[in-house]
Symmetry: D2
Subunit: 398 residues, 4 copies
């Protein structure tokens, strides 16, 4: 049973609060903090939160509070986290952790020095689909993961500060790439070091300084590739998909627009259908359980269960730091137009790992390796072979 | 904060308990009751439930317990419910409520006479998708509902008693038709009286007495049709889908095998993939959040929230009684091979409702009604018209 | 190389002609016949057809013509077919064959007496998906077929005469049920006799005399069930799906709205998207190859190839007659509210077939049959058993 | 009516021949040429082709032949094309056109100098879905295309020479990237010049020299991005998808594994299910019309119709040349690890085009531009604004 201060009452603070209130849970939000007193009061009333304030320090230092949830614009994360560390409170910070790897590292050091519990609220690795797919992956269902694509695109974020590079630290990469990078990293395996990136980023549609569309490739030391696609220019709703390919299997996750809920209406229903949905007539693809599908439910369960068990949660500030470092390299690569190394002053994964050769040498017979076997339309089977000595490639059909 | 006795520790008791334990909730299961003491002990240990017994009465009468959850085979529901009513405890009973409408009515009378809270645990109307679709339907997105199909098919139930007509009261209709009937009824509107049914039922595959496959049509007094399809002969996993058609819209829900989670594995993962899944290699369609997708989460939230608010939940024993009455008529119709009336001694919905004519008379011009307008491949538009006086049908293309 | 007269230039005649002209084929349409001379002339010009007329007999008797395609409203099929038989020409007739089984039988007798080639243009059993699924079914991939559902629903037909019961012979059952009945029959196996039907039919929306929505069940002598769902009240486009369940497998075909083509447009494209699509903005589901997906291409290939090979095509007037007989029984059952027998004066399939028991007696051990085996979430396996002597049902978990 | 020589009788030659024979078409294959006389004889017999040879020149120079179809391994394309040009025959060459841009340019010059009809057999831009989506795109349904992803992955090609870099000119990029590049280019618009590429390529699984997995980004002068993903390491069948995003819309095409045909079988059917399918039990996703879905049907129709009309087909050798140039740049970029320019000595598209700014300045009021408008879960609408003078970003909620 925890007593929580929610710092920030925008869309993300609202999602977090809704999640924590919905399940008749024993963890309670006892303090709400917003920029404006009036806004805090209104939020507290709406969600039956006993106390509120516009003073961040006061909220964090409230004696009853043992856990601080940071749901603020990116440029304010550091301030809130340092206050929480100082106050000796557990701190859960929304994504991205910081506006740069350097800032993230300061925050990580602060919480580690203070010895407080720290959780990185990267909700999209906590969706029930993702958790189950990660579990299957770890159990070997996909063999070795070779490639993981994560995509998040929609028509653009809902608050002004996102569009302002100074406050957010970047555009679509900072806003959504942070999700995609961590999703791919989770499938590839966190013990593998991300080495370098190539990245395209452009401002294609909106009258802003930051990029509104970007694609990047992150190469890991075991040869795997993480691919992210982010956009604020997408039309049709919110596209939230992951695809993973391994030597033995494949995973396709569709989190938002094709989840088994399809609705057509010629007349509409006068209101909100799903996050980022465009309109309420024609064919629509609502999501049944939005907060579950976005991972908020399992994320908070993991955070509080880990806290109670005296363990680290699945996502810590260290993970947030890694993600920020990858994002930094992406912005650099988009400028230099070459692959850029990911600088990690603090790397805690497997060390010096050489590329583990995945290339499998399956024996066909004494003289040949098997490259491939395929059933042909004619009903025959074809084997593509490689001569062990000469390397010559040939085929046999039977 | 409720103190719960769970009566029955089979698959459904396990699902209920898992749901209640998972969300760090404040409602607690304090007593577990199974047929055998050893089984009860094992279950209590697994789920950290403080007390257990094989004595149903003792479990229900436990002074700390305020809520009884009945998770027993069908033929035992009545006994448990009467004990709970007698003890003045809130009682939540799994589906179907009883093995016949007559038995259901006795149970309904007992809880109403005792004045205890009663909830009918029809989980599948509580899936987040269903709740949201019902909400859209009520807001008018579909216009008037004309037809609702609900389908549940798989390879057969997991416990012996289901296959024994004497213990279960029937076959696939009793087991799964009860879900489908209530789902369709919820979309059509509970105020509308179900009038009559036609039904096909057969034992096509399994060496049992009960039907392992059935299809039925339920006609409501407003002209709408509920359609159920249930089978224990289905291959490929569990098929759990609803389709609703209205004058202004359409809803398609796929709850299990096509929810945006697709996985291929050539090697498997050595274990359980999803309820009723056949094997763990090849293409698989796991469900991310199984207990959420089956409605258990929102169902218990509604039950306990309603209890706290002093209101009836969305599904009460009265609903269970209606469903049993429809099931009874289905079994009769399958025998007599004709449409059979649904006998409802206790009807609390809209009364004497005539068929509300949906037939719309849209004016085309002074002389004609519009039957239909369609865009043709040529780019032209065609209007099908009916002469207001003569009734003659004609068309105009422009 | 055939010389064809197309009799009828409405939507279906247009689809047929487009199909025959598109593939640089060697079979040629040399004569077009429409109700009005001007319409025939316009059609002939559009499709570069050398001759045209409004005189049906003249078109059919044209000396160059060897094949007559009847693409007329239902009430005119008989007249055209009798003329073709008389003229000794091969005749291909659109669906339904006739407005009643009696009329269909007359037409069948006429072409058989005349010894001319006769093909029933039931396109929807000729879609490439259906042909491949039927082939897999015949090869045993589904085991014994237990149930086949075929569904065709949209907002209503495109020509005035469809809506006039006198000219069409019925409503949605006559228009689209004929497709669904033959699709289900093809999966179940044409050698199996359709025995009886139950049917619901109603006029729910349109100001017409015929039914605009219907569902029916057709029971075959081998215990299989064909299910059709037809509607002119559906919203959202054209829903064209088949589902087949067998003892060993399942087939799901979606022919129209979910075929791997999804498009969102906020602005539209100013025109036709797909047959029966509602509008050109929002999410749309066009069909790539409409004439292929509706079966027209493979249907005509089969017809002309069969003609050249001196064989019967896959679909003959006999099949059309069976379908009309089932439709007749459906209309009767919708009236009498009981299962009605299907009257087949001319039955050429397997005779006196008893219900082939599908019920499988799989041995578990010396004392028990196996009813079912299932992998449980816990990882254990459960076997449901039946005692060979007592019939008692029990379970074992390991 | 054309008389065709098919040069090459491997899988692609078989696909082409099947396509040309299937539709009762008037164009005839009169000559088959294979490496070995016996193979040619067998192929000719199977497809009822009157003449055959193992002498390529003889086949091409055959006096009856007016059209040569080159269906050979990549390293032999040039030889066959030059012979055809010399003989003054129309020539249709399979993809990729050549093993390098330089070679492609020689071939282009040869056919242009000879004045013969030349078609580039890039089938995947001719699928009915692609053609219809391209048509919608050109009509403006997507607005300006911003990004086009094309993906082709499977377990590897079916013939030995593909795996041998010397014979094929490369690995998965050469084999399948050529498709993806031309698909993206078609959506973005062929008048736009492809400028530069970044590319990742690796040999992750197979014991070969060429890449078996690659991802690349192609930037066009109008700011659009083409993205290709190709792999010979994919598990689960053949993944063939295109996704296009524009300022006003979105297109998603799934050509192979999710086309509305789903089948489960516990027993299989003893044979081929679909190209690259893995096995014949479990859930399978056959394709109804394989040759149609791969574009072969419409491709040949366009080729012969264009020939008869004296026009260029949609895909000419010039297109093949452009694709080879992009492929060359990809191989270079994969080596140099930086964006590489695409060298086009022969560019025939729009010239000197500056990046057309897509960035839209929509007015909100006299002082502000509108960045974005969104419906919030609360039902309110939020507008994100930019001050016209100061550039400051703000928001309004109503």
């Amino acid at each position: 049973m925890h007593k929580i201060a929610i710092i920030g009452t925008g869309l993300i603070g609202r999602f977090y609060t809704t999640t924590l209130k919905h399940y008749r849970g024993k963890d309670e939000i006892v303090m709400a903090c917003a920029k404006e007193e009036a806004e805090a009061a209104k939020f507290a009333e709406e969600f039956a939160i006993p106390r509120y304030t516009s003073d961040m320090a006061k909220a964090i230092q409230d004696p009853e509070v043992d856990t601080v949830i940071v749901a603020l614009p990116n440029y304010l994360h550091k301030k809130a986290v340092l206050l929480a560390a100082e106050a000796g409170k557990a701190v859960l910070c929304t994504k991205p952790l910081a506006t740069s790897a350097e800032e993230a590292r300061e925050m990580l050091e602060a919480v580690e020095k203070a010895g407080v519990f720290h959780g990185y609220l990267e909700d999209l690795v906590y969706t029930p689909k993702t958790l189950k797919a990660l579990d299957s992956t770890r159990k070997g269902a996909l063999g070795k993961v070779l490639w993981a694509r994560s995509r998040e695109t929609h028509g653009g974020p809902h608050s002004d500060w996102f569009w302002n590079k100074e406050l957010s630290g970047g555009g679509a990469i900072m806003d959504m790439g942070c999700h995609c990078i961590e999703i791919a990293r989770s499938f590839i395996g966190k013990e593998n070091r991300p080495i370098e990136v190539t990245c395209w980023a452009d401002t294609q549609v909106h009258p802003i300084d930051a990029e509104d569309h970007a694609v990047g490739l992150v190469r890991y030391d075991n040869g795997a590739i993480g691919q992210f696609e982010v956009s604020w220019t997408f039309r049709g709703g919110m596209d939230l998909r992951d695809e993973v390919s391994g030597t033995e299997g494949t995973v396709w996750l569709n989190h938002w627009m094709r989840t088994g809920f399809e609705m057509f209406s010629s007349v509409g229903q006068g209101g909100y259908v799903a996050e980022k949905a465009e309109g309420d007539t024609g064919w629509m693809f609502p999501v049944g359980d939005e907060i579950g599908a976005l991972g908020y439910v399992e994320m908070f369960l993991d955070m509080f269960n880990a806290m109670d068990a005296g363990k680290a949660p699945m996502e810590t500030f260290y993970d947030g730091y890694i993600v920020n470092a990858v994002v930094d390299a992406c912005y650099k690569a988009a400028q230099t137009k070459q692959w850029e190394p990911i600088e990690l002053k603090d790397w805690r994964g497997a060390d010096g790992s050489e590329k583990a050769t995945t290339q499998a040498l399956k024996e066909y017979d004494a003289e040949h390796y098997l490259i491939k076997e395929e059933l042909m339309p004619s009903g025959a089977t074809k084997w593509i072979l490689k001569d062990k000595k000469t390397g010559a490639i040939s085929q046999v059909v039977k």
